[in-house]
Subunit: 381 residues, 4 copies
């Protein structure tokens, strides 16, 4: 049994949602141990949260700066291997930068940072320091997303023509941010969330899913962003036309005001000889439509699937896997990358990296620019 | 029992698809009798087709001009009440114009004509002559489409925010028009189909469905049209962003290269307090998502539905109705309008008129204009 | 064009449901003309109903006996070709018997008659007179039911092991027969409906669907029938275990108290190398699960289907067909059988016959017998 | 933070499926620590498996007897709190008996034991010793199963009339047990699996789901069991009619030869005023059909659900939970029961107990007896 990787968490204290999800996902495969934390931007709350999670006093830090200093003061064999950043978006950059510079591996939630300048700086930092840097675009961790990617790579649907991706939610159809909902509050606050609302929060997942599964590169964006809920400060609905390098076209919808949808991320990819459809809320299924033949319903856990889907499968067919396992799959790959790094091997793996994160930031920026422009097509580059 | 309305058909002879559908739909309610025809642009074929349908020799015309002349020569009590035009699109205008001018009621397939000028001329002609003029946007004949319209009108989902409409087909993913498929041939021929391919053939249905159900008026269009199949002369894929008067937004997708879809017309409407979803391939269902409450599955034939849905229902719940019945519902309303006209009453009814048809033509024109423009928004007016 | 077959209808007057469905289905293909009728057991109502349907006075009969006499008095070239019996069940036998004896073809609704003795007598009568005798088990008219039958016949799922068939309805969950609902009234009245309620009304459809699609022969029945609604006089719920010749097993559920189901007839067939599933409420689909391979979704109207499914298809894929067309398919086959009979050819065709009807009566009888028995297995023969 | 409960595991070594699932589920909430094990009936393999899981040498036992002895020799504050039995079925009884007798809490997989005598003995043992005894009927741990139970308990569908439960699998449609599949091997071996195959393995889950959700008590069983795969020694298909106390009826299907089904456990409950449907493969949904109103789709994570569903929910709506979380919910309740027991409080909780296990054993016995009987109804008691 290899030793568990020691991690310190920034953010994710009392009342936070995504921090607990990360800890849960990291626990699934017994590859990580929480050994340090600066769990809130409010020092008191940070300490209280750390104590509740069983952190020893001397590693239950009031601030991330203190954590960085404290950990660096420890001997290497005790020091945290990685920092996990699960704060609102505006904190990602300084923390990621500081820890990566110190040679500590980084996992950050998405969107990576607020600006392309910050993102490019992190990419450069990673190139320079060689640390492993994962970004938790968790939806690409699903086995049937791996299968979709493999089928496309292997030519099962031919040259790609068109992508329709939608990330449909309805939870912000009313002004929840005024009713004390912490998740709604920071996501609709430009200072913490960044230049975009729905596009940043969920549109960025849609972009990543498309890029990961299809390998297509966006060439130009035509966006219409709307704030439907009066008084809200960021977009809660975005509709985009996309042009990809090589001539493929796309439609991307990201909305948080579409009542009746919970977390309905749907990807449809059309090629010259077939099509694929995947839905996050029914994640164990992948629909494959071959040209002139019946649609086939591929399901996780079956022997007819490819190696990638098999490798990320934990339960037999019909015993559904879901959100946590997909999230854990990302973390499992990061753990293996860090271990390879520790052995001096190439840490490349099947997880979203700082480069994916940077492309996601550019996607948000270019979308916001397009929405403000009278010109039809805003170049992506 | 009222007498059956006498109709003459233009187009719809041997090998035609939609003509037979019209005859079938008209037969369902025993309100119409086929008594004359000019069933093909090839006189021999016209005669052969007419004979096969049992037309008497003297009303089995070689051309529509001959039919118009021949019918006008008959006494009014024998003359056809209406002409039904089921030719390729380019023939709609002269026939509709000539018969309307002669005071004969008209039913035309969609899209109505090739240009807004033609459309406006028909609108004026109808205003002048007072004939009943129906356009067979058949999908609005479904009972659950009536229910959706009624729910929106009655405020069940509040002020409208967003519409997503897709008309997804895959049958033209390859160059079928080179393989002797008559339906594919004329639809991809600009001379017969008009300035648009998928947008004209099916995008126009999507536009009509949105207008009928929501009452929203398009203010501006941003379109990206593509011809994916090499050598094809018209678009086979179109993706549009829409802005409606009053601030609602829209996404419209019309494609004939999306493999795996057959005739997948889907409408999603989002309001401030709820949402509705309807799919043509599962037409007896309507999904209603109220804010903060479970989604409700409304089904045709149940007592909880409104008067409009009830009025167009022919079978009890669970005994599925489908394409033909919806088509017949349009014709039933037209029959009643013609009968009211005959009694000197107001012929207004629940069927798509020349005005709907004209708006559809403008939609196609503006979409094609937008696709050719670098400007983001092309005004609809 | 062949001449239309002349039919006389018994039952199906004012307020009746199924008679109108028959007329509608018969009209679809223009193969039949209604020329006579005895449309109600109440002479006044019969005459009123006939007038409303445009019957000439001299063929608008007060009773079926009068119709038989009247028609026989006409010259053969005017006389009705067939009688269509759409009365409550208790009237089927005398009418069918009398007309068949007179050499007039018969179509009867199901269940055929009340007792096996009556059924056997009709089988013998048909054998003696040679008339065409159709029984409107309409659900076997669906194209995808034809496809299921063809796949099984061609070995696509191997030797059959098991059948699960359910006919789930909820409309009789309350005592509707006390609220003036005509359909509920006679169906729950032993004098008119026969010895069984749900089992006779819908269980018999389930039996016919299994027999038609699989060719399996029931060897023994183990039934539990229940009357859930207090005061009701016939079963409203039936659950059966079946044993088929050759070792296959079955489960049959027929219920009219299962709230939430409308007309939910579902057939699942399991063989050694695959399985099939079909649902009446989604009739254009057929699910085929091959052993160790992804489930395939077969859909009506596609080129990959077999000849039987193609032959009964009226619209392209994605343009849904439904209840009326399936019903019309049965009538189309009967029309062709009658025409062949007229030409002195073998009238055998793809429609349910008096033999199917007789087997259905036996099924009801044996089920009622089993329900009353302490013995586990009641032989079918 | 409360201390983690110390557990020893019997079975679940190399190549086992369900043992790993238990460990995984126990890990989710950080309430348990694996501290001892006798992980295989083959001592060498047991030791190898324990080492791989990081067990210290002195608690990595070659046999469960050694584990019992070794643990009892330790001071109470080090000793395991509970034993978790995940062996093939025939080992459950002696282990459970011995540990319960020693005052150590027990969690056993299902079916509990081979005979009612053994089961009754365990019930008596638990009554005598007062230990907590959980049986991992994991499917009742799903939040929407809790919601179904609550709705029924609160009268949402009225007095119950009928239950249809199916547990459909296809993985044993061929003779997998001859191809080296360990899971298939022991499940089809009477010595290890018990008197029943499919009925014991999955029928028992179906029985437990019905009992848990509805509270109905089986009064009599009428069963038909079949072994379809030649040479197999136990049933691979079972179809049952059920009669419940109070007059409700039931149908139970448990099959492992239904190709196309993976792990398709479906529960349908019909009452006088409504119905509920739940499917294990789509576990976040619960369909509620009220009388004469549209079907409602209830989904996990929404505010409109009851307290039980909320209490067992870990993620927001649309972020699917699945198999592991349901399993973990059972273990979380057991942990709390053991903790209450430790504080001298009533350990009753929302988890399946030895009594549920004993009823499940009786269900298997009575089903096998019924299948062998010519009598229609075999009493349950």
């Amino acid at each position: 049994m290899t030793r568990r990787l020691r991690y310190g968490m920034v953010g994710g204290g009392e009342g936070a949602f995504i921090g607990a999800v990360h800890r849960h996902a990291m626990a699934l495969d017994h590859r990580y141990a929480l050994e340090a934390g600066a769990l809130s931007s409010t020092p008191d709350k940070a300490r209280r949260s750390g104590a509740a999670l069983g952190l020893p006093d001397d590693r239950n830090y009031p601030t991330w700066e203190a954590m960085l200093e404290g950990e660096l003061a420890r001997p290497a064999e005790e020091r945290i291997d990685l920092v996990v950043i699960v704060t609102p978006n505006h904190v990602h950059y300084p923390v990621a930068k500081a820890f990566a510079d110190a040679g500590i591996h980084v996992v950050s939630d998405k969107p990576l940072v607020h600006t392309s300048e910050q993102a490019d700086d992190l990419v450069a930092t990673v190139a320079r320091t060689g640390v492993v840097f994962g970004v938790t675009y968790n939806y690409t961790g699903y086995p049937m997303v791996k299968e979709a990617r493999a089928l496309i790579r292997d030519g099962a649907i031919g040259a790609l023509r068109k992508v329709i991706v939608g990330y449909h939610q309805g939870w912000l159809a009313t002004k929840l941010e005024d009713e004390g909902a912490k998740q709604a509050e920071w996501r609709t606050d430009p200072a913490r969330s960044g230049a975009a609302g729905a596009i940043g929060d969920i549109g960025s997942h849609a972009e990543n899913l498309v890029a990961t599964v299809t390998g297509l590169e966006i060439e130009a964006i035509c966006a219409d962003l709307t704030t439907f809920v009066p008084g809200r400060r960021l977009d809660d609905d975005g509709n985009l036309l996309l042009r990809f390098a090589g001539g493929a076209k796309g439609v991307l919808v990201a909305s948080q005001i579409e009542i009746g949808h919970e977390n309905d991320l749907v990807l449809q990819v059309y090629g010259e000889t077939g099509a694929l459809t995947w839905r996050q809320e029914d994640p164990n299924a992948l629909w494959h439509a071959p040209l002139d033949a019946p649609v086939r319903l591929l399901r996780r856990g079956n022997g007819y699937l490819g190696a990638d889907a098999q490798r990320f499968t934990r339960l037999p067919a019909g015993h559904p896997e879901a959100f946590f396992e997909a999230f854990a799959n990302v973390y499992r790959e990061i753990a293996e990358a860090i271990e390879r790094h520790g052995r001096g091997e190439d840490p490349t793996g099947d997880y979203p990296t700082v480069t994916d994160g940077a492309r996601g930031v550019r996607f948000i920026e270019r979308t916001v620019a397009s929405a403000a422009s009278d010109q039809k097509w805003t170049p992506f580059a």
